[in-house]
């Protein structure tokens, strides 16, 4: 009988501590999506500096950009690229967690043609 009582007291002590400590902590921030954005932006920047992003943007070749990004993007994420003028229409992706990052280019060589490249990332299901 005494042993049961002490076990109950032990459970109550642990439960109380959990309630006191963790009821105020709230939801922890989601670092994964921020990291995806930074990786995505740096991926586009790397493409711009070394792998001919501008040329592909000028010709509207999103497939080529996606292929060039394949080795850079996070393995846990799906991604797609849109090239647009001022605003992009959202892609039809059924995911509750989707992030996007945009990269502006003014043109290519002597062709002034401002566009933004928008990279969408979402988790692999």
């Amino acid at each position: 009988m005494l042993r049961t009582l002490e076990a109950v007291i032990a459970i109550l002590m642990i439960s109380t501590i959990f309630i006191i400590f963790y009821q105020t902590i709230g939801i922890l921030p989601d670092f994964e999506t921020i990291n995806w954005k930074i990786i995505g932006y740096n991926g586009l920047k790397t493409l711009d500096r070394t792998l001919g992003l501008r040329q592909e943007v000028l010709t509207g070749n999103t497939t080529a950009i996606e292929a060039k990004l394949s080795g850079i993007m996070p393995p846990a994420a799906n991604y797609t690229v849109r090239i647009c003028g001022v605003s992009c229409s959202s892609p039809s992706i059924s995911s509750s967690k989707i992030v996007s990052v945009s990269y502006i280019v003014a043109g290519y060589r002597d062709a002034y043609a401002p566009r933004q490249v928008v990279l969408y990332l979402w988790p692999k299901s």
Binding site: E6, I25, I34, I38, Y112
Partner: protein, 226 residues
């Protein structure tokens, strides 16, 4: 019999001892987990992202100039249009940019011959510039041009003349004010004989989601070399 009772008692106490040890572990874990620190790290990462986006805009001004290859008119038009484009893009994302630019250019400089320095000032600060003063050190005393009002999203053009027998660095002083702020800038106009140049000054600001970024920079391009 007494020993058995002691054993039973100890078996019960062990629950309390385990509970106390577990609580100590949880307390230590909780103290090491600072929510404020986690949120601060998140904020720093997000600000870093804002900074990267601003850096992108800033560098693209220089690329917009490059696309106007060998034409100061194209360089000026491209950067003015690019400034408008960037503002529209950022507005579509719920952000805002404010830019003041001044672009100066001149054709090939011939010794001891008047050369015209063309100036285009562009206001995209989101408010009217109530006073703009330009002072150019081409003569003594320096020549001045003033504008009383420049509405938002409007360019103003003017010119100065200079005459030199050798390479010289002129100075262009810029002062502008709006109802909320003002700014003074000094830019160098390098005049080299037989060369045509473009000098662009940009003061641009991005009101980001989490932080604001502002930068002022000058880009000088030699259009024709002898």
């Amino acid at each position: 019999m007494k020993n058995n009772i002691e054993k039973v008692k100890m078996k019960g106490q062990i629950f309390l001892i385990i509970a106390i040890l577990f609580i100590l572990f949880v307390v230590m874990l909780r103290n090491g987990l600072s929510l404020a620190e986690i949120l601060e790290n998140q904020r720093a990462l997000e600000e870093n992202l804002d900074m990267l986006e601003f850096d992108n805009i800033r560098l693209e001004f220089i690329d917009a100039i490059s696309t106007g290859f060998n034409s100061s008119i194209n360089m000026t038009n491209n950067t003015v249009n690019f400034t408008r484009y960037v503002q529209l893009v950022e507005q579509s994302k719920g952000l805002n940019t404010k830019t003041f630019s001044l672009q100066a250019s001149f054709g090939n400089v011939s010794p001891s011959t008047d050369t015209t320095l063309s100036i285009t000032a562009f206001n995209l600060l989101g408010e009217e510039i109530s006073f703009l003063n330009l002072t150019f050190t081409n003569t003594t005393p320096a020549t001045q041009k003033t504008f009383s009002t420049i509405p938002d999203n409007v360019t103003r053009e003017t010119f100065f003349n200079f005459n030199t027998g050798s390479a010289i660095n002129y100075t262009l002083y810029i002062f502008w004010n709006t109802t909320t702020r003002n700014s003074s800038e000094t830019i160098t106009i390098p005049a080299d004989l037989t060369q045509s140049k473009y000098v662009g000054f940009f003061d641009t600001e991005l009101d980001g989601k989490r932080s604001n970024h502002r930068d002022k920079f000058t880009e000088t391009v030699t259009i024709n070399k002898p």
